[in-house]
């Protein structure tokens, strides 16, 4: 079984085309695997086996009639429980949406359906994508497949863990401040957060609208590239989606093979607090690229120190407003204790939202409050955000992409980061990418002595995912980390 479930999407596509297995058989493999390892991993919040198998049957039927919708027709994919899938639960790992069934499809889910993909399960996350460990899921903890006592990262915890554990070949996640790249790094898989606006946000429950972006986690670079190709494009239902030509990423990667790029490296990412083993792995990656003939250019990112405070001001402010709709009036949890309208709001939200979500809402309410200074914090943060963007754009005058560690430390033990500040600092290398709206990736670049995966972060120019994927694939081609999988 392992020889199939841990394969790349390319291999699975070839297997379907060569009739080595049908979509139903392939889907069954992942369903069996899920059932076998879920007690240890806890990546799924829910799944609907019958529905999924029906989708696989439909795919096989299309294939038999020569009417496959795309190369990906029949390949299973997991969804973070933040994407609306018609008829399925949409909980965002929150009590307040515990029994909510989505009546509509997210635009990205429509794209997956149009490609004929088989939707397998709803994946765990930190509540409303706030957190980086799954410890803030209202329902369950997801365990890192490489060490079950450790966190898988987050907030796309289930997406990363499920791919790493072979429960799905690929999964969708979301990344507001690192929520795809950080768990991808901690679970040893490939993760991409595209440029802001590259893919539609319609039907993806909003945390921080100006930072949120959906992305992909898979075992290999070509896997995320294949899925990204079908997700891209302007969406008439999302005003912030970009009207840009839709690239064929695989073709671009093919065309870019052997190209020697220039990569920026900034001291800002190698400061105190960076785990020495991670430092070493990333430095080895730099050496690797040097040996490929890439130019390594030292760059300055002066404003990066401000990224964390700016991020928490903006993200919390937007979240406080985005999450106001969860009020117990039209849908979701309503407190049975509520007698008056104010109590409906107060008790439903008080009982339905978890402590981390409340903390960020309170922070957001505070930074938006008028009082002495009109939205002073929020406006100021937006100005600094612009400076961070400018810093990156200055750097990109000299380089094609920036190399950095994805996380300062490898996966920690569950319950270890017991203060919010310690948790917030774990996003230190990732949030600036969201603030600047840039594409970012994490690819496996080694293991610690304890056998924990290490992630290499690649940061690109706006809408130049092709470059990023090409650089990532060059690294992957020279290393064997993507063939490693955890023993469960």
């Amino acid at each position: 079984m392992d020889d199939v479930i841990f394969q790349s999407l390319d291999t699975l596509i070839n297997g379907l085309n060569a009739k080595q297995f049908s979509s139903v058989e392939l889907t069954q493999l992942y369903i069996q695997r899920t059932k076998a390892v879920e007690p240890k991993i806890g990546a799924f919040l829910s799944f609907d086996e019958d529905k999924t198998l029906k989708e696989a049957q439909a795919s096989d039927k299309r294939r038999a009639e020569g009417a496959s919708l795309s190369e990906l027709d029949g390949i299973p994919i997991g969804l973070k429980d933040i994407f609306a899938e018609k008829g399925q639960p949409l909980t965002c790992a929150s009590r307040i949406l515990e029994h909510f069934i989505s009546p509509y499809d997210a635009t990205l889910v429509q794209h997956l359906r149009e490609a004929g993909m088989v939707l397998w399960g709803r994946l765990n996350m930190d509540e409303f994508a706030m957190g980086s460990s799954s410890e803030h899921s209202a329902f369950k903890m997801t365990h890192n497949p490489w060490d079950l006592t450790r966190i898988p990262g987050g907030s796309s915890s289930g997406s990363a863990a499920a791919v790493a554990a072979g429960e799905v070949p690929v999964a969708l996640g979301t990344d507001t401040g690192g929520s795809i790249r950080q768990p991808a790094a901690l679970c040893g898989v490939v993760g991409i957060k595209p440029s802001y606006g590259r893919v539609s946000r319609y039907g993806m429950v909003a945390f921080a609208s100006s930072l949120d972006q959906a992305g992909i986690l898979a075992r290999r670079v070509s896997g995320v590239a294949r899925i990204l190709s079908i997700l891209c494009g302007a969406d008439p239902k999302d005003a912030t989606s970009a009207r840009k030509p839709i690239p064929n990423f695989l073709a671009d990667m093919q065309a870019n093979k052997g190209k020697q790029w220039s990569l920026g490296v900034s001291d800002a990412y190698f400061q105190e607090g960076l785990n020495p083993e991670i430092r070493q792995s990333v430095e080895q990656a730099i050496e690797f690229y040097k040996n490929l003939g890439y130019r390594i250019v030292p760059i300055q990112l002066k404003t990066l120190d401000y990224a964390i405070p700016v991020y928490y001001v903006i993200a919390s402010a937007e979240a406080s407003s985005n999450l106001a709709r969860f009020d117990g009036i039209r849908y979701g949890y309503r407190s049975p204790k509520a007698q008056t309208i104010d109590q409906v709001f107060e008790y439903s939200r008080g009982e339905g939202l978890g402590p981390e979500v409340k903390r960020r809402i309170l922070l957001g309410l505070h930074v938006l409050s008028s009082g002495k200074y009109d939205a002073y914090y929020y406006d100021k943060a937006q100005k600094v955000r612009r400076l961070i963007y400018n810093d990156f754009m200055d750097a990109f005058k000299q380089v094609d992409a920036i190399l950095a560690p994805t996380t300062p430390v490898p996966a920690n033990k569950q319950g270890e980061k017991d203060t919010p500040l310690a948790m917030y600092l774990s996003d230190i290398y990732t949030v600036s990418v969201n603030l600047a709206g840039l594409p970012g990736m994490s690819i496996p670049c080694g293991f610690t002595q304890d056998g924990l995966p290490i992630g290499l972060q690649l940061i690109g120019k706006p809408f130049e995912e092709s470059t990023l994927l090409s650089i990532a694939e060059a690294f992957e081609a020279g290393h064997d980390y993507s063939n490693c999988y955890p023993l469960l």
């Binding site: 009546p103 429950v205 008439p236 407003s321 009020d327």
Partner: protein
């Protein structure tokens, strides 16, 4: 006793008449069953996003032009955050510091000393016009409150005046003018009963001669134009009484009760909301090119006060007729089209529309009207050409409205064409003069009205087919000849 002057500013919300809502393509019509004009965006379901309806922007730009506002080349959307069950997202998408339209003024006409005398015109300064989405509607029952989200998300413009009015009558004229102009350009039907126009009033008073503003009180729940008037009148009197009894006026929001004709305090300044406005990250700023802004200006129709001026100056129509035709876009268009086809007799056309047409169509929608401007032009032409007598024309008109047949057709079918055999008519005149010596004698002795008796007799004998002017002319000839 101190003389006080009232200072009034109005905030008027007007529902724009667009095919679909402001941020999603769901249609809106008044009067549908509750919660039927919805989708996931209207309900604020998790994951949904707003996408601007550009048609609403264009309508709002047109409204801005009507009132001479400066139209912004760039404006943005802000979220106004507050918890209330009629707001599906618990925030409203509005415009805080970059409204679509700034400045401008609304020309108003105050009531004249008599119905047939034009009242004074003046201009009320505007602060701004901005766009925002509407919320749902709450209906409070004894033990429950129902929410209808049909209205939620429909486009509103908020028209904010400067504190530039000084009497309930001016406020009344201001609302009438807004209503007239916005209907004219098809921006809104402005029916207050249907919630298409809603008004809050800021009222303060100050001693006459003072230039400082007094403490303002915001009046809400003013549900009709006359309600606005009564509410403001009550509030001015209340404030005067407070000051006269050495009290001081609280800055507060008061609710007008249109049944009891009193206002009661809703909330004081201390309870004012902190709306935590910030730029909506789901929507990019709107940019409008000079071309788009100019195109909206070019498409504006002739506006009612300008039209009224033209009717009076160029067409010499009396004020009473123009005051019926001009405020109504349909009537004045009907007039203009008819007049264009037959420019010789605007007064007759205006009379037919303002009197007969309105009377015949009372209580019926214009969509049922079978009369067209070419049909009316033909009718007036037949009368002026002495083919159809004025008295028969009334019946022909009614029949035209009912049947949709042309005047010519009806005249032909009924044999109503006037006979213009002058010799025969002269003979009839002479007959009548001979038959009625008394009125003849009275006329000749200077009692001119006596001639009407004779005219009536002639008309009777010619079955109304002789043109009255001709009868008049021949009769006078005969009467004078005889001497």
């Amino acid at each position: 006793m101190t003389q006080y002057e009232a200072v009034i500013g109005l905030e008027v919300h007007v529902q724009l008449k667009t095919k679909t809502k402001l941020f999603t393509r769901v249609p809106y019509h008044y009067g549908e069953a509750p919660n039927t004009l919805l989708n996931e965006v209207v309900l604020g379901l998790p994951g949904t996003l707003p996408v601007l309806n550009k048609g609403a922007i264009l309508k709002a730009v047109a409204a801005g032009h009507v009132f001479g506002c400066k139209i912004a080349h760039q404006c943005k959307w802000d979220r106004k955050n507050y918890f209330y069950p009629d707001a599906p997202k618990n925030y409203q998408i509005s415009q805080l510091d970059q409204p679509l339209c700034a400045g401008g003024q609304v020309e108003i006409e105050l009531a004249g000393p008599a119905r047939n005398i034009q009242g004074e015109h003046r201009k009320v300064a505007l602060n701004r016009i901005h766009l925002e989405e509407d919320v749902g509607k709450l209906t409070h029952g004894a033990n429950e409150t129902c929410i209808d989200f049909n209205r939620a998300g429909t486009p509103l413009i908020e028209i904010v005046s400067e504190p530039d009015m000084h009497s309930p009558e001016e406020a009344f004229a201001y609302l009438k003018s807004l209503e007239m102009h916005l209907r004219y350009i098809g921006a809104s039907d402005c029916d207050m009963e249907k919630g298409q126009m809603r008004c809050d009033a800021n009222v303060s008073i100050r001693p006459v001669g003072s230039t400082q503003l007094g403490t303002k009180v915001e009046l809400k729940n003013l549900n009709s134009i006359s309600g606005v008037c009564s509410g403001i009148r009550y509030e001015i009197q209340r404030q005067i009484e407070v000051l006269e009894s050495n009290g001081h006026i609280e800055q507060e929001t008061r609710r007008w009760d249109a049944e009891k004709l009193v206002s009661t305090s809703m909330r004081s300044k201390e309870d004012a909301h902190d709306y935590r406005y910030f730029t909506d990250p789901d929507l990019f700023p709107i940019t409008l090119s000079d071309e788009v802004i100019q195109a909206q200006r070019d498409q504006l129709p002739e506006l009612p006060f300008a039209k009224q001026e033209r009717y009076q100056q160029e067409l010499k129509l009396p004020y009473t007729l123009t005051s019926v035709l001009c405020p109504d876009c349909f009537l004045s268009n009907f007039f203009d089209q008819t007049h264009a086809l037959y420019p010789k007799n605007p007064l007759a056309i205006a009379n037919w529309i303002a009197n007969d047409l309105l009377r015949e169509m009372a209580g019926k929608p214009w969509s049922e009207l079978k009369l067209t401007p070419p049909m009316l032009a033909e009718l007036v032409q037949l009368i002026d050409g002495q083919v159809l007598s004025k008295q028969n024309a009334k019946d022909v008109f009614v029949e035209m409205i009912q049947s949709g047949l042309s005047a010519k057709q009806i005249v032909q079918d009924k044999g109503l064409e006037m006979k213009v055999d002058i010799e025969a008519l002269k003979a009839v005149c002479q007959e009548v003069i001979n038959a009625f010596p008394q009125p003849v004698a009275e006329y000749r002795s200077g009692k001119e009205k006596a001639i009407n008796v004779l005219k009536g007799q002639i008309m009777k004998r010619t079955q109304g087919k002789a043109p009255i002017d001709l009868i008049n002319q021949l009769l006078i000839e005969c009467l004078n000849n005889k001497s």
